[in-house]
Subunit: 209 residues, 2 copies
């Protein structure tokens, strides 16, 4: 039986990736505890993704008649440079400082995801995974950093840039999954669905299958 | 003086990349001779991009009052596996054959671009460059190939897949510029503009500069 995908995230970028990949889904953003002591980033994003998915499934069990049809997806992304996690900038000066440290260098982006569903015996099942992508910036001049920060694109972005926006001007190359940098490692997600024999509803192609 | 960018291509994917990157431009697709004896793919895409840009500049010189304000961009993309250039599939059986050869393996995508403009002495100037990106497919089953081909997404794509569409499910990772695979190496393009001291109109951010 095909499951209905529920995205436990309000991120417009994650929504766009799932849409582009042809999946049908609905969105139910939840609040989850994001506090966590220092850990390996690959472990951290999986724990935080798991909390989001679990909070979403809890909410669905309270509000929906048949959560056994549902498959919940939580995700979390962090940007890491020189063993430091780079969050969203507090202001434009902080964004410029982050860009000064990233320009001309390589950093890493980790996205973890968690899938939670009910099996045929009504038992909760889950799967979790993460991907790492290396991102290489071209050198940037102070003038370019000033221009880019003033576009406003950096304001709400972890790492103070968007590879899918104006920021793509400054990216030389990546090693890994591109969509992982945008917010969801779609290839890995699809392979995880496959290995767990999970089928979800497609947006428009089922009739051809 | 800032120049007005003219894209000598009707590709919706190239348009989308330039828009996402924040550039203002207009589109003037042209026909150019695409016949070429066998060559190195990196050289080939630069020659074909140059023909498109030159044909577009010729047309603009005939129809526009002031081509000295203009900067013409031509581009060409090829997909290469095992020393063979993979074009658009002739039918869905050919698309399935291409996917059978790409699945579980690495192939390369080359995009060349050519910029043509008039300098302050009214002399034609040009710059040309190309990028290579390696793309790694996950293994695909016959059922997956059949499903994917029947979505219709392969029909008009060189290499019979779209990394920005349903095809992203099957991509494990890339090495290089992602947008190069979609159709335009935006990072390299921006660096080429910069090294030639070419400034083009921005979509919406000039007032902040």
């Amino acid at each position: 039986m095909k499951k209905k995908l529920v995205l436990a995230s309000g991120s417009p970028r994650r929504k766009e990736i799932l849409s582009q990949a042809g999946f049908s889904f609905r969105v139910l953003p939840v609040d989850a505890d994001e506090s966590l002591e220092n850990r390996d980033p690959e472990e951290m994003v999986q724990i935080l993704a798991g909390r989001k998915a679990a909070a979403c499934m809890d909410l669905l069990k309270k509000t929906e008649g048949n959560p056994e049809n549902l498959l919940v997806l939580g995700a979390d992304t962090v940007v890491v440079y020189d063993h430091t996690i780079l969050g969203k900038p507090s202001d434009r000066e902080a964004a410029a400082d982050t860009l000064r440290s990233l320009q001309g260098k390589c950093h890493s982006v980790y996205t973890g995801f968690s899938l939670i569903w009910m099996d045929e015996q009504n038992q909760i099942q889950s799967a979790v995974s993460a991907e790492k992508t290396n991102v290489f910036f071209y050198p940037m001049s102070e003038e370019e950093i000033h221009f880019y920060v003033n576009t406003g694109e950096c304001d709400d972005k972890a790492g103070s840039y968007a590879i899918q926006g104006i920021g793509m001007r400054y990216i030389e190359k990546i090693e890994g999954d591109y969509h992982n940098v945008v917010g969801l490692p779609l290839g890995r997600l699809y392979q995880t669905l496959k290995s767990n024999h999970l089928e979800i509803e497609e947006a428009a192609y089922d009739e051809n299958r």
